[in-house]
């Protein structure tokens, strides 16, 4: 803008900086990106001047006006929400309550979860936004503690490999299951590897502590096919977006996604949708609306489609709300909105967003302390370099920190410390089980050397290279030969792993009953379904609801190093 160095001026020098500034400059948090708000393009967390004002008008049981738009002006999200998500009978009475009154209902433990649901079923997107805008982070957490659907919190892990190595995935899946995760998700670097990696995930998930449900994040149609075959156990990467152009860019509409939801249920397969703040601005068409307003539309599309739950909390777009003021508050609020309309919430804390350990921990607190259906979705069970979802906010190097935080605060993040000998045994056995399955299915062999390496490895760099071309041929043959979950069961049995075979058959048998299709369903290690139907959140203030006690609390007290109080030389584990 300006030019320097006119005749007679002093030459410019860098102003002297303090030593403290230098130290602060070098803190990891200053590697993070921060940006000022720009509402015109939607670069604003939860308070855009262009967000609509709440309104509703119902005629003959039909919503004819919503948030300032008449039916003729509705875009396809408005129409889907008005016709499928909002209870027209409840709408006018619910909308007559002030946002503050509704927010008070959310935080007041004397008002039951069901009473809130009766009101929220009649609220429009703009009204839901107005309600959460009145709440600070602590109030959002208080509300989440009550509104979470399932009483018992759970957790989900990513299990991926930078080399798409199925031997790594089977071992890390087994370890993650042993550590307490109830869902495992994988994805690929090379998509054609998917069948082998999905088989590995499924075997690992049942190898050490059974009942873990698995999924493989792929393009919608392929993901459905693996699910139909029983190679995966549930699905999550069914994305929805908050504006019509971005929804269309994702090659879907609320109707195609609702149909897909029914397709999954028709095969007895659990599924949830995925959405998150920031996706619309990242995809360049937020229509000037705040990230949270658009996300609330996604939440209601999910509800209207009759899907039991939603993965949200910005997810792969976390860098966007993370960069603007109140962005992480908005992320906590979007989780709450999912829970307050009665959906399962798998609450993010997945893609990495900060270089600062303090900041990534702070970002986790609202979900960990309040408890959600899945605190992370997911927690990386592999080192950062192996995480094919572009890293996670938490990874396997944080296991001990997580366990200590659980114990410090007596908060159940659904994980536990496991002694090394048990972990090594589980990793080794899982890899041997996969060796047997691959042999039975005539897939590229797994060597004893690979098994030895993966037992003691940290990541893919510690493992021998596999013959990728042979693996890809094998993966193709899984699809061509129509291999199903039942073939994996037979392979496990043939390989001498009868207990793992029995567990996998038990998981597959769940499809027949459909119990897992209900809100917030997980399987216990005993293969019993736990969902919002038979384990509903009953929080009603101090002394009520889920609190870690008894055997679970004893388990949470164990860490890698705990010394005897009587003899500090002795470790009690």
């Amino acid at each position: 803008m300006s030019t320097m160095g006119a005749a007679g001026e002093e030459p410019s020098v860098t102003p002297r900086r303090s030593k403290r500034t230098e130290i602060l400059e070098n803190r990891p948090v200053n590697l993070d990106g921060f940006v000022e708000e720009w509402p015109e393009v939607g670069m604003v967390a939860m308070d855009s001047p262009y967000d609509p004002q709440p309104s509703v008008r119902v005629e003959n049981g039909v919503v004819v006006e919503m948030d300032g738009r008449t039916r003729e002006e509705f875009d396809f999200l408005d129409q889907f929400i008005a016709d499928h998500a909002i209870d027209a009978e409840a709408a006018e009475r619910a909308m007559a309550l002030s946002a503050i009154e509704i927010a008070h209902m959310l935080v007041d433990p004397k008002v039951s979860r069901d009473e809130v649901l009766a009101v929220s079923s009649g609220l429009t997107p703009a009204k839901l936004l107005e309600v959460v805008k009145t709440m600070n982070v602590v109030e959002i957490m208080m509300a989440m503690q009550k509104m979470r659907a399932r009483r018992t919190p759970a957790n989900q892990a990513h299990s991926t490999s930078a080399r798409d190595n199925p031997v790594q995935v089977v071992a890390d899946a087994a370890e993650a299951a042993l550590r307490g995760f109830r869902e495992l998700e994988t994805t690929l670097g090379v998509v054609r590897y998917a069948p082998l990696v999905a088989i590995a995930l499924q075997v690992g998930a049942q190898a050490a502590r059974p009942g873990v449900l698995t999924q493989c994040a792929l393009e919608e149609a392929t993901e459905l096919e693996l699910g139909m075959r029983g190679i995966t156990g549930y699905a999550e990467t069914i994305s929805v977006y908050g504006t019509e152009p971005v929804f269309c860019d994702g090659d879907d509409t609320p109707w195609s996604k609702a149909f897909l939801a029914s397709a999954y249920a028709s095969r007895g397969i659990k599924m949830r949708f995925t959405s998150g703040t920031g996706s619309e601005v990242q995809m360049g068409n937020a229509q000037g609306k705040s990230m949270l307003y658009l996300e609330i539309r996604c939440v209601l599309v999910t509800k209207g489609a009759g899907v039991q739950g939603l993965q949200n909390g910005s997810i792969s777009c976390i860098g966007v709300p993370g960069a603007v003021p109140a962005g992480i508050r908005a992320v906590a609020a979007e989780n709450l909105v999912a829970s307050m309309v009665g959906l399962e919430c798998a609450s993010g804390n997945d893609q990495s967003f900060s270089h600062s350990d303090m900041r990534r921990t702070a970002r986790l607190m609202p979900q960990l302390l309040a408890g959600t259906d899945f605190v992370c979705s997911g927690y990386s069970s592999v080192p950062n370099y192996d995480n094919m979802f572009a890293g996670s906010n938490l990874d396997c190097e944080d296991y001990d920190d997580w366990n200590v935080i659980q114990r410090d605060l007596q908060v159940d993040g659904a994980l536990r410390h496991v002694p090394e000998d048990e972990i090594l045994a589980a990793r080794n056995r899982a890899a041997r089980a996969l060796q047997g399955v691959f042999a039975h299915l005539d897939l590229p062999s797994i060597t004893d050397r690979e098994i030895e390496a993966v037992t003691y490895s940290h990541g893919s760099e510690d493992l021998p290279f596999r013959d990728v071309l042979e693996d890809l041929k094998g993966a193709q043959s899984v699809m061509d030969r129509g291999i199903t979950g039942l073939d994996i069961v037979k392979g496990l049995e043939a390989g001498g792993f009868a207990d793992i075979a029995e567990s996998l058959l038990g998981v597959l048998r769940q499809r027949v009953s459909g119990d897992l299709l209900h809100t917030s369903a997980i399987l216990t290690p005993e293969l019993t379904t736990l969902s919002a139907v038979n384990d509903p959140n009953d929080y009603a203030g101090p002394g009520t609801g889920y609190r870690p006690t008894g055997a679970r609390w004893e388990e949470m007290k164990r860490l890698r190093h705990v010394v005897s109080a009587r003899n500090p030389e002795e470790e009690v584990g």
């Binding site: 195609s256 009759g306 049995e493 029995e502």
Partner: protein, 140 residues
């Protein structure tokens, strides 16, 4: 099927509390899906699917638990159990934006209603045809 009154508190999960109500689409009971039967080749992939009647029982449970939309989804799903996998995928792809003309969608709806006794799914597709026309996201 004779109407069965289900109480979510008492009857759910159906696999443990009301197994006598459950059948695979091939008519097997849950306790017939054993490892022995798998190894004897008596269990096929089709046995590990959900039957339409079961989905309607789960719809009842969802509705009794106050989840109307979830119940509706299960009722659409019950209809879709009759469709082969490829057909399901084809209809999903046809519902994507700019993928079908209005007539193509209406033909699918009619096929669902006529050939598969799937009126709820038919209605969803008809609704899509109507909205897609208004929002200009039909093919062509």
């Amino acid at each position: 099927m004779t109407p069965i009154e289900l109480d979510p508190q008492r009857d759910y999960p159906l696999a443990s509390n009301r197994p006598e109500l459950l059948r695979t689409p091939t008519g097997k009971r849950l306790d017939e899906i054993t490892m022995q039967a798998v190894l004897a080749g008596e269990v096929a992939a089709e046995d590990l699917r959900i039957a339409p009647d079961t989905l309607r029982l789960q719809a009842q449970i969802a509705e009794s638990a106050g989840r109307a939309q979830l119940g509706e989804n299960f009722r659409r799903a019950a209809e879709l159990t009759a469709l082969p996998d490829e057909k399901v995928l084809a209809i999903y792809n046809a519902l994507r934006p700019q993928a079908s003309t209005e007539q193509e969608l209406l033909d699918i709806a009619e096929e669902l209603e006529r050939d598969y006794s799937a009126p709820l799914c038919g209605r969803l597709v008809r609704e899509a045809a109507d909205v897609y026309e208004r929002r200009d996201i039909l093919a062509g």
